[in-house]
């Protein structure tokens, strides 16, 4: 269905809805545009089309227990820099219709689903990253009792405006054992998932099976202030691929283990996560798994985010760990990752020594990640996995500490320090290792009813020798809120310590935003540092650029 047919369909539909006063129509429009300009410092814009936009129009319709939705997408005249090339032109991106009641949910069309933590299956949309791996097919969820939920699905994953070549089969069950056994204070949940990917290839080898199966079993437990959960995943043999080649004689299986323990009571929170993954990359189309072949993260079946603190300041996002789930022999042998993180939160009540007049809040995170301790035979493409808890090369480590303090009714402050070890060689397959330290202070001054001014200063010390980001950085932000609807900002990060003077660039940006009800308009002008934009542990590479940006989002 092309967009004009779709538009006619929508018009008839809304006209019907309005005439009968039946049902509910809602929707949203998001438009992100950029005009790229030549920059004397960072260079001329050498691509086609200086002006580019990504637009998404989504409509949801519900009538009693029935629902329908559709998303029209337009990348005109071309998508923003470094989006998946199959996002081109204007077309219908996703659509679905179905039935939904307390017990039964049926969807035909595109759907988003997550089994467990997503280690075996997760389909989601992230417009900033250009990811939409929703499955097009059929999906049924049935809840025969309040303690049982069953899901079955089949389909093909969205790939640009098409679908990938592999079929996805999924089955999931969630059992509330605590409820079933009438436990009063103890929570106990069990989950089991199966995901199969079928893609037939012309392979003679008898070991080749077009179907690759993955299984996940989970247990969640909670008692009082304490909680724990665990998940184990097994993925069947799948063909090895490397640097654009499929190895028809090499097959490896994969597995993952995830453990989470926590304690939480008012004023105190503690959480620890451990995860080990071996050969867990899983694609609905095998050639998307080829090393270095898929920088756009398309046709991903499972979600394997880096489990570290997700930072929100610009300098803390220079050394971002990316999870290392896959088995590779070239350029460096790696079989997976092992590690974990600890989070700690505490509030010192007002009136206490550490709390002061308004109370004090602290947050601490420690994360550490290693390669698996394995023996590789790079020539024969075989490897020997070491002990289950064997730690290999260190990939990443980070300590971060945040202190929030309201000083008076007008002033509040946040201080953050981060210490990072980043093994560039293993995380980025380049050379080098980096030790970095970052300090950030921000203060907000509030005056009048909702007028406020926010200052933020950042500094990064590092021993990095990479000329794209070597040595030290300084940064700052100034933000002024005229009221709750209108704000302006100016920000800059400056790689002043770079020994290559041409790389001592100010990545400045200034702009404003206006918000009213469900509408937000933001405009800015500035330089974008080349590198990774990461959302939820998945990253997209953006080349350095300069230009005007306009973002409009509205819901109706």
């Amino acid at each position: 269905m092309n967009y004009s047919k779709f538009a006619v369909f929508v018009l008839l539909w809304t006209a019907f809805a309005q005439a009968q006063d039946y049902g509910q129509l809602s929707g949203g429009l998001e438009s992100n545009s950029q005009y790229y300009v030549d920059d004397p410092k960072t260079g001329d814009f050498l691509e086609d089309d200086h002006f580019r936009t990504n637009n998404y129009l989504r409509l949801n319709y519900t009538f009693k227990n029935w629902f329908a939705n559709a998303q029209l997408e337009s990348y005109e005249p071309r998508a923003l820099l470094n989006y998946y090339p199959k996002y081109e032109g204007t077309d219908l991106g996703t659509f679905a219709f179905g039935y939904k009641s307390q017990k039964l949910e049926v969807t035909v069309g595109h759907f988003y689903e997550q089994f467990g933590s997503g280690l075996v299956l997760r389909t989601w949309e992230d417009r900033q990253l250009g990811i939409n791996n929703s499955i097009r097919g059929g999906h049924v969820t049935y809840r025969p009792f309040s303690t049982v939920q069953l899901t079955a699905l089949y389909g093909r994953q969205r790939d640009g405006f098409e679908v990938s070549r592999g079929d996805i089969y999924g089955f999931n069950t969630e059992l509330d054992l605590g409820g079933f056994l009438n436990f009063e204070t103890t929570g106990l949940d069990f989950g089991f998932s199966y995901v199969g990917r079928y893609e037939d290839l012309e392979v003679e080898n008898p070991n080749f099976d077009p179907m690759t199966n993955a299984f996940s079993a989970r247990l969640d437990f909670s008692e009082g202030n304490f909680y724990a959960s665990g998940e184990y995943v097994l993925k069947d043999d799948d063909m090895y691929q490397e640097l654009g080649n499929l190895y028809e004689d090499s097959y490896f299986n994969g597995n993952a283990f995830l453990l989470n323990l926590g304690f939480a009571k008012s004023g105190l929170g503690l959480d620890a996560t451990f995860r080990r993954m071996e050969n867990m990359a899983f694609y609905s189309q095998r050639d998307q798994g080829q090393y270095g072949n898929n920088p756009f993260n398309q046709d991903v079946v499972n979600y394997l985010p880096a489990l570290t603190k997700q930072h929100d300041y610009s300098l803390t996002n220079i050394y971002v760990y990316q999870s290392q789930p896959r088995l590779v022999f070239n350029p460096l042998p790696k079989a997976g990752e092992i590690g974990g993180q600890i989070d700690f939160y505490q509030r010192f009540k007002r009136g206490t020594v550490l709390g002061g007049k308004y109370g004090t809040k602290i947050a601490f995170n420690f994360s550490t990640w290693y390669g698996l301790d394995s023996e590789f035979n790079v020539t024969d493409k075989t490897y020997e996995s070491g002990p289950f808890l064997g730690f290999g090369k260190k990939y990443f480590q980070e300590f971060s500490f945040e202190l929030r303090k309201k000083i008076s009714s007008k002033w509040s402050t946040i201080v953050t320090v981060v210490e990072t070890y980043y093994n560039t060689k293993y995380v980025e397959d380049r050379t080098g290792e980096v030790d970095a330290f970052i300090a950030i202070a921000e203060a907000t001054y509030k005056f009048g009813s909702s007028k406020s001014i926010r200052f933020e200063g950042q500094h990064l010390w590092s021993n990095d020798k990479d000329h794209d980001r070597a040595k030290n950085w300084a940064g700052g932000t100034l933000e002024y809120n005229f009221n709750s609807n209108f704000a302006v900002f100016a920000t800059d990060i400056w790689n002043y310590g770079n020994p290559d003077e041409d790389k001592q660039i100010h990545y400045y940006s200034f702009g404003g935003s206006f918000t009213k009800g469900a509408t937000r308009i933001g405009a800015s002008y500035g330089r974008q540092r080349g590198g990774l934009i990461c959302v939820g542990g998945i990253c997209r590479f953006v080349p350095e650029n300069t230009g005007f940006t306009l973002n409009i989002a509205t819901a109706f």
Binding site: Y3, A7, L11, A17, Q18, L25, S26, G28, L29, E30, N55, L57, R58, L59, N60, T62, L72, E76, K100, Y112, E113, S117, G118, W124, E125, R127, S146, G187, A264, K265, S266, G267, G269, D271, T273, P305, A306, Q310, D312, F344, Y345, R347, Y358, K361, A363, S412, S449, S450, S452, R454, N481, N483, S484, A487, G517, R520, G536, G537, A553, A555
Partner: protein
């Protein structure tokens, strides 16, 4: 290209005339104890509810909830309002929600929208998004947070609690 834009805006304007998103969608979300909560039940029988979409990695969201957290008891006493802080954290950060909520001493109801179903239904590309809801009707919507705007929100709450 022009043609597609015209179609797009035509459809949009037409859509605007029809009906605004004025009810909470029919969704079931989990709370921190693993129990399922029907979104359409949280504001029934005239219960005034504030719904705030937030995430552990969103600084303005946490600033807003911290600011409301400081005065929440007064709000509940004066207007009987209830706040549902709905986290859109995905499986990367969702395990951080419970310790963070406790560590900050927030006394809100907390629900999890781990795969973004509510975020998608509300067409909210950015967070925070704050709604005031009563009998499942969305009476007020705001996105973004500026220090002090919780006072404006409270004015609205008082207005709708009458």
């Amino acid at each position: 290209m022009m043609k597609s834009f015209i179609t797009l805006f035509f459809v949009l304007t037409f859509g605007l005339f029809v009906k605004a998103q004025d009810v909470l969608p029919n969704l079931h979300l989990e709370n921190l104890d693993g129990e399922t909560v029907a979104l359409q039940d949280i504001s029934k029988d005239g219960q005034l509810v504030v719904v705030s979409l937030w995430a552990t990695w969103c600084v303005p969201c946490k600033n807003e909830l911290d600011a409301i957290g400081d005065v929440y008891v007064d709000w509940m006493d004066e207007t009987n309002v209830k706040l549902y802080a709905i986290s859109v954290d995905d499986s990367r950060t969702v395990k951080r929600v419970k310790p963070l909520v406790n560590g900050k001493g927030w006394e809100f109801e907390v629900l999890l929208d781990t795969n973004g179903d509510l975020k998608r239904q509300l067409n909210a590309p950015t967070i925070p998004v704050t709604l005031i809801v009563k009998d499942n009707k969305i009476l007020f919507r705001h996105s973004g947070y500026a220090p002090g705007s919780e006072e404006e929100l409270y004015e609205k709450i008082k207005e709708f609690s009458k």
